[in-house]
C-alpha cells in the first residue's frame, strides 16, 4: 500500500474559494497603474447599475464599483461577474453556416454569411410574400439597435412580422400604463421609495431579480415605512415584510379588487383626487364591490384578515407606493392585474407626488428603452401606434419611404412561433433572444423553429436557439460598442465601449446596415456607429410621448442619465410623472379600468391539482446563455431545482418530476416552508431537458399577448434520478471553458433559492 503523504483534510467549506472558474476573462491580474476605468452600466437587469470596467492593453479584465446615483456603488453577483463575458473563451468569433439542419455548423466569411442571408430573404419573400420572413429582436440591445431592428424589418425586409422578447417581459405593464395613463413607463424614480410611508411590492422578488433596488426598499424602512409583499413564495424581501400575502398564483386581480373593496367600504378613498383626475371610477367601484374580502380570501388562499390589513396599511399611509413586476404581469390577465394595482394607487390619491406613486420594474436591461422605438409588432418609433394613419405618415416621412410601403401591425412573438409551425413564416432573423429557453411550451417552440426554411440568429455566445439555426452571426457584447439603455425608471443611461470587438466579431448595427445594403435599402441604413443611429432616433421621437429629442450623448455624459420625456436640449428630463395629477391622455385624466378576475388558463383537476410558478434566481439572467458560462455564477447556482413544501413528504435532494399537460421534467427537491403547499416553483434559466418552460403554458393575455408563465396546473411525482444539466452549446469541435462548468454536474439543489452557501460541498 502506498501511503499518501499530504494530509488532505479540512473542515467543510474552508478549502473553497469561489475563484470564478479560472476567471476566463483575461486571467486574474492586478498590476499597479496599468488600467483604465471605463464608466458604463451593467448589461443585465432593468436597474442598470453604474459600474467601471477595468481595461488594460485594450482588454476588459475586471470591474470596479461606480458611485452612480442609481446604484451608489452597489452591485449584484451578476453585475460583478458580467465583465468576464467580454473576453470569454466561449465567445463566437466567426459566422457559422449550414445548408440544412442535418449538417454541422461550420465557419464561413462574413461576406458569404451576409450574401447567403440576403439570398434566402429574397427567395423566401419572392416565393411566399414579404410577410413570410420574420424578425425577432431583444430588449437587452441598446436602444439604438432596437430602433434599427424595427426600421430594418419595416424598411429593408418590409415585413409586418417583427417582434421582440420584451413580449415575454414588460408588455402587460406597458399595456396597463397606456390604458390608464397614456404613457408607458414607471411613474416615479427609485429614489421616491426613500420618501414613502408604505411600499407595496406585488409579484416581484426584488431581492433576487433586482438586488440593487433592495437598498431603496430598506432605505424606506429605515425611515419608518411599512412594507407589504404579495408573492406566493416567502422571498428574501417577503421574509421580513410587515405583511406578506402569500396568495395562490393567478389570483392577483381578485386580491387587489378585494383590497380596493375594503378601501371603499371603509371610506379610505381620496374622493377629491378621484373626482378631479379620473374617469371610470364608478365601474371600478362596482367591480370591486363584487369582491368581498371573505370570499376573495378563499379564492386567494389567504386569511381574510390580510385583505383588511393591506387595505388599511396602504390607504392610511400618508404617502404610499406600489411596485410590481413579472409576478402579476405574466398572466392571461396580466394587463388587468396591473390595472388593479393602478386602481389601488389612484383611488387612494397616491400618484405623481414625491414618495407617492406607482412603478413597474423592468426585467431586461433595456426592457424600457427596447419597447419604445419600434421593434414591437404594433409600434413605431417614439411609442407611435403602427395602426394610426397620422403616426404612419410621420414615420414614413422621417424614414423617407412611401407610407404605402410601411407594413401593418404584425403578431406577437408566441403567435409568430405558431405561424412558423403553420408555414406562414418561413424565414426568421433573430437577434438578442433565446426562445428555446425563454418561450413557454418548449416542444411547440422547437417545432416552430424546426419548420423554418432559413433561420439566422445573432448572438455572442452560441445560444440553444442559435445552435439550431442555419446561420449564426457573432456580434458584439455590450462592452464592445456604444449605446444607451433606459432603466426601470425610464432614465436613459449611456453605455460606453470599453474595448474593440474581438477579431471576427461585428456590431449588430454593422450587420443590419450591411444586410440592408444587400436588400437594396442601403441608403436608409448609412450608420457608421451607434451615435449616428441615436441622432436619427432623437428626431424620430421628437414630439411624441416618448420624447428623446433633448437627450444627446454629450448630455448623458454630463448628467449620468436623463429620464424621458425630454423635449429639448435645455429640458432636465422627467424623473417623476403625473405631477399635479395630469396624465398623458388628451383629457389629462387617469382612465380607470374596471377588472373582473378570472381563473388562470390552465384548469386544475384531479390529475393536475397544484400550481407551477416559474421565475428567476439571483445568480442567473433570463435564458442563461450568458450567466451559465460564468464560473462564479455556475458555482453559486449550478442547476435548477423544484421548490416544494415539506407537506408533500419529499426530502431535500429527492428527485421530483413536475408534470403538466405539456411535459414533464425532473429536478432535485428544495424542500422549504417558504412556499405555499399548493404551489411548486422552478427557475427557468436552464434549457431542455431541465427547462421550466417545457412545462409552462403558452396561453396569452388577449391584450398584451404575454404568456402565462407564472401559473399553470401541475402535479409532482417521485422520480428515480435527477436530470443532469446539459453543457452550454458550442460550435462543433469546441468545448465550453471547462473551469467554468466545474459544478454543473451537481445533482443536489442549492442550499436556498439564492444559491449554494459558500460552505456547501
Amino acid at each position: 500500500m502506498t501511503i499518501p503523504l499530504d494530509p488532505n483534510i479540512t473542515p467543510p467549506g474552508t478549502g473553497r474559494f469561489r475563484d470564478a472558474g479560472g476567471l476566463p476573462a483575461d486571467k486574474w491580474r492586478a498590476i499597479r497603474g496599468e488600467e483604465t476605468l471605463v464608466p458604463t452600466h451593467c448589461c443585465f437587469c432593468g436597474v442598470q447599475c453604474g459600474m467601471y470596467l477595468r481595461v488594460h492593453d485594450g482588454k476588459v479584465f475586471g470591474v470596479e464599483p461606480r458611485d452612480h446615483d442609481i446604484n451608489r456603488m452597489r452591485l449584484c453577483p451578476k453585475g460583478l461577474n458580467a465583465y468576464q463575458q467580454v473576453n470569454h473563451p466561449d465567445r463566437l468569433t466567426a459566422p457559422l453556416y449550414r445548408k440544412s439542419r442535418a449538417d454541422d455548423l461550420r465557419p464561413v466569411s462574413w461576406e458569404q454569411a451576409l450574401d447567403v442571408t440576403a439570398e434566402h430573404i429574397q427567395r423566401i419573400q419572392a416565393e411566399h410574400g414579404r410577410d413570410a420572413f420574420g424578425m425577432l429582436g431583444g430588449a437587452s440591445l441598446f436602444t439604438e439597435k432596437t430602433y434599427l431592428v424595427g426600421k430594418f424589418a419595416r424598411v429593408a425586409l418590409r415585413t409586418r412580422h417583427v417582434d421582440y422578447n420584451g413580449r415575454l417581459c414588460m408588455v402587460s405593464a406597458a399595456g396597463a400604463n397606456k390604458l390608464s395613463f397614456g404613457i408607458d413607463r414607471a411613474a416615479n424614480p427609485f429614489a421616491d421609495c426613500l420618501l414613502t410611508d408604505c411600499l407595496l411590492i406585488a409579484g416581484s422578488n426584488v431581492g433576487e431579480c433586482f438586488p440593487v433596488m433592495t437598498q431603496y426598499l430598506w432605505g424606506a424602512r429605515d425611515r419608518g415605512a411599512k412594507m407589504i409583499v404579495v408573492d406566493p413564495r416567502e422571498t428574501s424581501i417577503a421574509r421580513t415584510a410587515d405583511i406578506h400575502v402569500a396568495l395562490r398564483p393567478g389570483t392577483d386581480a381578485a386580491f387587489f379588487n378585494a383590497v380596493l373593496h375594503v378601501i371603499v367600504t371603509e371610506g379610505l378613498t381620496d374622493e377629491a383626487f378621484i373626482a378631479e383626475h379620473t374617469t371610470g371610477w364608478d365601474e371600478v367601484r362596482a367591480a370591486a364591490a363584487e369582491c368581498p374580502p371573505e370570499r376573495t380570501a378563499e379564492i386567494c388562499g389567504i386569511p381574510a384578515e390580510q385583505v383588511f390589513q393591506v387595505a388599511r396599511m396602504f390607504a392610511t399611509a400618508g404617502k404610499a407606493m406600489a411596485w410590481h413586476a413579472r409576478g402579476i404581469e405574466h398572466h392571461t390577465q396580466g394587463v388587468e392585474n396591473c390595472l388593479t394595482v393602478i386602481n389601488l394607487c389612484v383611488a387612494t390619491g397616491n400618484l405623481g407626488k414625491p414618495g407617492a406613486g406607482y412603478g413597474t420594474i423592468t426585467g431586461q436591461g433595456n426592457g424600457q428603452g427596447g419597447r419604445e422605438h419600434g421593434q414591437k409588432s404594433d409600434m413605431l418609433p417614439g411609442g407611435r401606434n403602427i395602426s394610426d394613419p397620422v403616426h404612419r405618415m410621420q414615420v414614413a416621412n422621417i424614414w423617407g419611404i412611401d407610407v404605402e410601403d410601411l407594413p401593418q401591425a404584425g403578431t406577437s412573438m408566441m403567435e409568430m412561433v405558431h405561424q412558423m409551425r403553420r408555414g406562414e413564416i418561413r424565414g426568421l432573423f433573430g437577434m438578442c433572444n433565446n426562445p428555446f429557453v425563454s418561450l413557454p411550451n418548449y416542444h411547440v417552440v422547437k417545432e416552430g423553429y424546426d419548420a423554418l426554411e432559413f433561420h439566422a440568429q445573432c448572438d455572442f455566445f452560441l445560444s440553444e436557439t442559435a445552435a439550431n439555426a442555419h446561420l449564426v452571426l457573432p456580434v458584439t457584447s455590450w462592452a464592445e460598442d456604444d449605446g444607451v439603455m433606459a432603466n426601470a425608471e425610464a432614465r436613459v443611461v449611456r453605455h460606453r465601449k470599453a474595448q474593440e470587438p474581438l477579431p471576427g466579431v461585428r456590431t449588430d448595427t454593422w450587420v443590419l446596415c450591411e444586410l440592408a445594403r444587400r436588400l437594396g435599402a442601403g441608403d436608409k441604413f448609412e450608420f457608421a456607429n451607434s451615435e449616428q443611429v441615436f441622432e436619427e432616433l432623437r428626431i424620430a421621437s421628437r414630439g411624441t410621448v416618448n420624447d428623446y429629442y433633448g437627450i444627446t450623448y454629450a448630455r448623458l455624459d454630463e448628467t449620468g442619465g436623463i429620464a424621458w420625456p425630454c423635449p429639448d436640449l435645455d429640458h432636465p428630463g422627467t424623473p417623476r410623472l403625473f405631477e399635479g395629477g395630469r396624465t398623458y391622455h388628451a383629457d389629462g385624466k387617469v382612465h380607470l379600468q374596471a377588472v373582473r378576475w378570472h381563473p388562470p388558463a390552465d384548469p386544475y383537476d384531479d390529475t393536475f391539482p397544484m400550481s407551477l410558478t416559474t421565475g428567476r434566481t439571483v445568480a442567473h439572467f433570463l435564458s442563461g446563455n450568458q450567466t451559465r458560462r460564468l464560473g462564479g455564477l455556475v458555482e453559486q447556482t449550478p442547476r435548477p431545482w423544484v421548490e416544494v413544501h415539506p407537506s408533500h413528504g419529499f426530502a431535500n435532494g429527492d428527485a421530483v418530476t413536475v408534470v403538466t399537460r405539456r411535459g414533464a421534467a425532473t429536478f432535485p427537491a428544495l424542500v422549504t416552508e417558504a412556499i405555499r403547499p399548493d404551489t411548486v416553483f422552478v427557475p427557468y434559466h436552464w434549457p431542455y431537458p431541465v427547462a421550466a418552460n417545457e412545462l409552462t403554458i403558452d396561453a396569452l393575455d388577449p391584450r398584451s399577448k404575454i404568456p402565462e408563465y407564472k401559473v399553470c396546473a401541475c402535479r409532482i411525482e417521485p422520480a428515480d434520478a435527477v436530470t443532469v444539466v446539459p453543457a452550454p452549446p458550442m460550435p462543433p469541435g469546441r468545448e465550453p471553458y471547462a473551469d467554468t462548468q466545474r459544478s454543473r454536474g451537481e445533482l443536489q439543489p442549492p442550499t436556498s433559492s439564492q444559491g449554494r452557501g459558500t460552505s456547501q460541498p
Binding site: I3, L5, D6, P7, I9, T10, P11, P12, G13, T14, A30, I31, R32, E34, W218, R221, R239, T240, S759
Partner: protein, 333 residues
C-alpha cells in the same frame, strides 16, 4: 533569559567547531575573519530568535509534536520514507509554492538553490573548513581539503574545477534573477504591495541583490580589470554580507528557520492518520484527533477558554451563531 543562554551556547559551539575544523586556526583565512565573526553572531541570533519563537504555546507544542513524530521509532518503522520525502518536497522542491503561483515558485527556487550553493561554499571557507592546496604552486592540479583532509583532486581547467571556482558567481546569477523577479512583483503587483513594509519585505530582496551584484563585480574586477577597484568592492561586499547575516534572524529571512515546522506539522498529522475528529454538530471531519487535541491544549495555554469550540466545524460555528442571533436577538429587518 533562556534564549540568551542558548544563543551564547550555540555561538560558543560554532566557535569551537571553527577552531577544530580549521585545525586550530591553521587553515583559517584571516582575510575572511569578519565573515566568520558575523556567522558567530548569526548563530547566536538564530538560536536566540528560535528559542523566543518556540516559547509561544502554539509553536512550542508543534515543535514537540513534530520532533516527537520525526524521532519516533514506531513511525520510522511504519513509514520510513515519509520524512525524507516530506523534506524533499516541502523544503527542497517547495511543491506548495507551485500551488500558489508557478512563476513565484520558479523565482523562489532560483533564490533558494542560489543561496544554498553560496552558503555551502562560503561558510566552510570562512570557517577555514575548506582549503585548496596545489602541489605545484599555481596549479592546475588542486586538492580540496575538508577539515584538513584531502577529499577531491581536480584540474582547475576542468568543468568541475570551473564550477568549484565559479560556484559563487553561478549562485549570484541565480539569486539576482529570482530576487529581481520578486522585487519587480513587489513594485507592481497590488496583492504583493498591500501592507508591504520596507524593512520586512523589500530590504531582504535588496540585500540579496547587493550581495550578489558586488560578488559578481569582484569576479569581474579580477578577470577583466586586473583587480581594479577590488579592494573597495571587497569591503562593500563584506559590509553587505555582514549586515545581512546580522539582520537574518529578525526579519523575513527567519522563515528559513521556521519552514521546517511545516514538515513537523505534516508528519504529526500524517502519523496520526486514520483517527479523525468529527464536528460535534454535523459530523463532518475536522482534522486528526491528535491535532485537534493539540490545538485545544494550545488554546488552553493561551487562556482562550472557548477551546471546546475547536470541535465544531467553522460552518456550524457560523450557522449556530447566525441562528442564535436570528432567534434571540433580531429575527427580522
Amino acid at each position: 533569559m533562556r534564549p540568551v543562554i542558548v544563543g551564547i551556547v550555540t555561538a560558543l559551539v560554532l566557535c569551537a567547531a571553527i577552531f577544530l575544523g580549521s585545525r586550530g586556526l591553521h587553515n583559517f583565512d584571516s582575510a575572511l575573519a569578519p565573515y566568520a565573526i558575523a556567522s558567530v553572531f548569526l548563530a547566536f541570533g538564530i538560536a536566540y530568535r528560535y528559542m523566543v519563537w518556540i516559547s509561544s504555546p502554539g509553536a512550542r507544542r508543534l515543535f514537540r509534536k513534530g520532533w516527537g513524530a520525526a524521532l519516533s521509532w514506531q513511525n520510522l518503522r511504519r513509514t520510513p520514507t515519509a520524512l525524507p520525502r516530506m523534506i524533499a518536497t516541502y523544503l527542497g522542491f517547495q511543491k506548495f509554492l507551485g500551488a500558489r503561483s508557478r512563476s513565484r515558485w520558479a523565482a523562489h527556487q532560483l533564490i533558494f538553490w542560489g543561496c544554498l550553493l553560496a552558503a555551502a561554499i562560503t561558510f566552510p571557507l570562512t570557517w577555514g573548513w575548506f582549503t585548496f592546496t596545489a602541489n605545484t604552486g599555481a596549479g592546475p592540479q588542486y586538492t580540496m581539503n575538508i577539515w584538513g583532509f584531502g577529499v577531491v583532486k581536480f584540474d582547475a581547467l576542468s568543468v568541475l574545477g570551473w564550477l568549484l571556482f565559479h560556484g559563487l558567481d553561478l549562485a549570484a546569477v541565480l539569486v539576482i534573477a529570482g530576487a529581481t523577479y520578486f522585487l519587480i512583483r513587489r513594485m507592481r503587483d497590488r496583492e504583493a504591495s498591500t501592507g508591504q513594509r520596507f524593512g520586512y519585505d523589500l530590504v531582504p530582496l535588496l540585500a540579496l541583490i547587493i550581495i550578489s551584484v558586488t560578488g559578481l563585480l569582484l569576479t569581474f574586477s579580477s578577470v577583466f580589470l586586473h583587480g581594479g577597484g577590488y579592494e573597495f568592492l571587497a569591503v562593500l561586499h563584506m559590509a553587505a554580507v555582514v549586515l545581512t547575516l546580522l539582520y537574518l534572524p529578525f526579519g523575513k529571512f527567519f522563515h528559513i528557520a521556521q519552514r521546517p515546522a511545516a514538515v513537523g506539522m505534516q508528519l504529526f498529522k500524517y502519523t496520526g492518520h486514520g483517527e479523525i475528529r468529527q464536528c460535534r454538530n454535523c459530523g463532518e471531519p475536522i482534522d486528526t484527533t491528535a491535532y485537534v487535541d493539540n490545538l485545544r491544549a494550545t488554546m488552553r495555554d493561551l487562556k482562550l477558554d472557548f477551546d471546546s469550540l475547536a470541535e465544531v466545524c467553522p460552518r456550524c460555528k457560523r450557522l449556530r451563531r447566525g441562528q442564535a442571533y436570528r432567534t434571540t436577538v433580531k429575527p427580522g429587518f
